[in-house]
């Protein structure tokens, strides 16, 4: 398999893509030209403005089709691949028992003003996600789910009190980068409250995170869209109990 590919519309290598956007300009020929210019800057050549719709007097919405000449180099793709083995609940339990000789303590929360608990609940509650049971189901994991809109200081206090091995935080609202701000606040607070060796593992998750940003955000791992409980459990074991 070649490692250089292009988008595929209708024939191999045709490079065809679709884009849409709004420009803050009244609709006119010039506006369509502006759309064409933007498409060109994005690398579309030829770029076909196939739809232009005025939205009130000041904005125009565009749909553009065209060919991009960019090559996608599959070899250069960097993804956070799973770098640990995927374990069954049984194996997870066994590993914890073996190496910790006590239950592994996990604290979960939605921090800041975020109240979207469905995602963290999918990871933590017995009910689970995508057919996999959540961490509460694991005999050797103790789960403390603090729920929604938990403040960072409160989270730190509870982590201390529970002697948490790992702190699992969910962030779903991303408008104005709320998730990034909250995550940074959280990792900073843990950094202050714990000595480096004693700091619990920090894990954040949510559908709009970039999994490659963990370093930047000061956490140990980021889980995105479609994460399953088993992946999380396996990661915890890999980092804490092996």
């Amino acid at each position: 398999m070649t490692t250089l590919v292009r988008p595929y519309g209708d024939t191999t290598g045709d490079g065809m893509v679709q884009i849409s956007f709004t420009l803050p300009v009244p609709h006119s020929k010039r506006a369509e030209g502006a759309a064409q210019q933007l498409a060109a800057k994005m690398g579309l050549d030829p770029a076909l403005v196939v739809h232009a719709k005025p939205m009130g007097p000041d904005y125009t919405f565009f749909v553009v089709y065209g060919r991009v000449h960019h090559l996608v180099d599959l070899d250069a793709v960097e993804v956070v691949e799973r770098d640990y083995p995927l374990l069954t609940p049984k194996e997870v339990n066994a590993a914890i028992k073996r190496s910790l000789r006590r239950r592994l303590v996990v604290i979960g929360a939605c921090i800041g003003t975020d109240a979207h608990t469905v995602g963290i609940d999918a990871i933590l509650n017995i009910k689970g996600f995508a057919g996999e049971k959540g961490l509460e189901y694991y005999r050797e994991i103790k789960v403390v789910n603090l729920g929604a809109q938990v403040s960072v200081p409160h989270l730190v206090d509870r982590a201390v009190a529970e002697r948490a091995d790992a702190v699992l935080v969910s962030q779903v609202v991303t408008q104005r980068d709320a998730h990034l701000l909250n995550t940074r606040e959280m990792s900073a607070a843990f950094g202050e409250a714990f000595r480096a060796e004693e700091r619990p593992l920090l894990v954040v998750g949510g559908p709009r995170f970039d999994e490659a940003m963990s370093g930047e955000l000061g956490v140990d791992r980021i889980f995105g869209r479609g994460t399953t409980p088993g992946e999380v459990a396996s990661f915890l074991v890999h980092r804490i109990a092996s």
């Binding site: 939205m55 800041g112 975020d114 609202v173 104005r176």
Partner: protein, 525 residues
């Protein structure tokens, strides 16, 4: 639009009577308690606004001082107007300022002093109520002048930039593009604030703070649009949260037209204490009733955490409870924007027809209520094309079942808060469906024993079962059965015990000599 399902009137009556049975003890509970927010709302009605340098509203400052001196259980009115009568300050703001500086002490007046404080407070609060009445008349006048929405369902669009000055042009654009109702979504976290922020704000997350000034600015902008467009454009905001009573008061004062106000949303989705919620809810709804505001309840939210097929009957149950509480608080049928939603997993066979069954059941159970029909959210994905299609079929159910308020769905639901273009595309979707298939109700007749009618009957039967279980529920503390049921996770799969949740410390059981002029005035009429 009646009788397509041929519901059994006896069963329907039974459902309502069970809801009454479940609700009545809660009303009693609400009557027996007051909250800091009810009291602050009373002060707001009496004209106390503004905030100190740190942004803490004067009503909070004053309330806290009164509470520190004499407690909450007597209400704020008598201590405050007694202090004024005693000449501690010439007006409420000054009193609040002095109180927060610690230079006034409050007492609980007795005898003639109490009498004097009572009538003074009633006069003051009466001023606010009269302003609300005037706003209501003004709405009626403007509707007459500009004309009303051209048809039902009313088209309801949200703006959510977090910045009132971005919201305003977007709202005006949406109105121009056909919206009949604009809702300004609130910043995350506001509902847990135990105060109402002040002034024009630009720093919300995924929504804009509800403040009196923001209300005023947006209402003025939409008044402009109404004039321009020749139809009155309605404005909605959120009462829910720890400040329900106060926000309801501000909404009445600033002529908002609809308010999100659910009897249980705060409990279930914001973990606000149940007693606090029910007390606040009752007061806020009394204010809405007076203001001629249409409430929007939040049953749609249940289906974001529970399955829309399995939990369909919890929606109906909650609608019946919301109806009972609303009417008890003085709201009329035309003010009951009961919520429900198109949230059946599209992968379920016949999902569209199940939606029709649920929507028609709501329509026929509440024939006079302006039902609020909510778009798919949970099963929306990043596939915006599929999302646009689902929204179209949601719109179609709305048209076929005669929904009253159509909350316009966005193809980017799973991605971002709505973009300008999302809103424009969404309106185009609604318009196509209403114009092209708006009359399809004429040809829609569920077969008497077909899937739709059977499903509707099944949901109603499950509702009755559930209500029956609720009225027989109990807990060790002997709380009203509905509180026990909420603690069991009956709604939206959330378990909320009566003594848990936020804001409980702002609740007090009324003393025998509790007095609140606002309640008196609102219940008079």
């Amino acid at each position: 639009m009646s009788g397509k399902l041929d519901l059994d009137p006896v069963t329907v009556r039974q459902a309502r009577s069970l809801a009454r049975k479940a609700g009545r003890p809660i009303v009693k509970l609400a009557q027996q308690h007051t909250t800091v927010s009810v009291e602050r709302a009373t002060l707001r009605l009496a004209g106390l606004g503004g905030a100190d340098a740190e942004g803490t509203p004067w009503v909070n400052r004053l309330m806290d001082a009164v509470r520190a001196d004499v407690g909450l259980e007597h209400g704020v009115a008598l201590p405050v107007w007694d202090a004024l009568a005693r000449g501690e300050a010439e007006d409420l703001v000054t009193l609040a300022q002095k109180a927060s500086a610690g230079s006034v002490r409050f007492r609980h007046p007795e005898g003639r002093d109490a009498q004097r404080a009572r009538s003074a407070s009633k006069r003051a609060v009466g001023g606010g109520i009269r302003r609300i009445d005037a706003r209501r008349r003004e709405r009626d006048r403007l509707i007459k002048k500009h004309g009303d929405a051209p048809r039902t369902p009313w088209i309801y669009l949200i703006v959510a930039t977090g910045d009132i000055h971005e919201d305003i042009p977007q709202a005006q654009a949406a109105a121009r593009a056909g919206a009949d109702v604009i809702a300004v979504i609130r910043s995350t976290g506001q509902s847990l604030l135990d105060f109402v922020p002040e002034g024009a704000t630009r720093e919300g997350f995924a929504g804009t703070y509800a403040t009196q000034e923001n209300f005023r600015l947006m209402r003025a902008a939409l008044d402009e649009s109404s004039k321009e467009l020749g139809r009155y454009v309605r404005l909605t905001n959120y009462a829910s949260g720890l400040c329900m009573p106060e926000i309801a008061a501000l909404a009445g004062l600033e002529r908002l037209d609809m308010m999100l106000n659910d009897s249980m949303y705060g409990i279930l989705f914001r973990d606000i204490n149940p007693v606090r919620t029910f007390v606040d809810q009752r007061f806020s709804r009394q204010v809405h009733a007076r203001a001629g505001i249409i409430i929007n309840t939040g049953e749609d939210n249940y289906l974001t955490t529970a399955d829309a097929v399995e939990a369909a009957h919890t929606v109906t149950t909650s609608q019946l409870l919301n109806e009972y509480f609303a009417k008890e608080a003085g709201l009329e049928d035309w003010q009951l924007g009961l919520g429900h939603a198109f949230e059946v997993d599209p992968a379920v066979p016949e999902s569209f027809r199940l939606e029709l069954a649920h929507a028609l059941l709501a329509r026929e159970l509440f024939p006079k209520a302006p039902l609020k029909w909510m778009p798919p959210t949970r099963h929306m994905t990043g596939d915006v094309f599929r999302g646009y299609l689902l929204d179209g079929f949601f719109n179609l159910v709305g048209a076929m079942t005669g929904q009253s308020i159509l909350l316009v769905g966005m193809m980017t639901e799973a991605v971002v808060t709505p973009w300008l273009s999302d809103r424009d595309l969404a309106l185009q979707n609604v318009r196509y469906v209403l114009d092209a298939a708006g009359g399809l109700g004429e040809d829609f007749h569920p077969a008497p024993d077909g899937l739709i009618a059977s499903r509707a009957r099944q949901v109603l039967a499950e509702t009755i079962d559930l209500l029956d279980r609720i009225v027989h529920d109990s807990d060790q503390a002997g709380d009203p059965p509905l509180l026990a049921a909420i603690a069991d996770g009956t709604f939206g799969l959330m378990k909320r015990p009566p003594d848990g949740g936020r804001g409980l410390d702002g609740v007090a059981r009324k003393a025998r000599d509790y007095y609140n002029p606002a309640s008196e005035l609102l219940e008079e009429k």
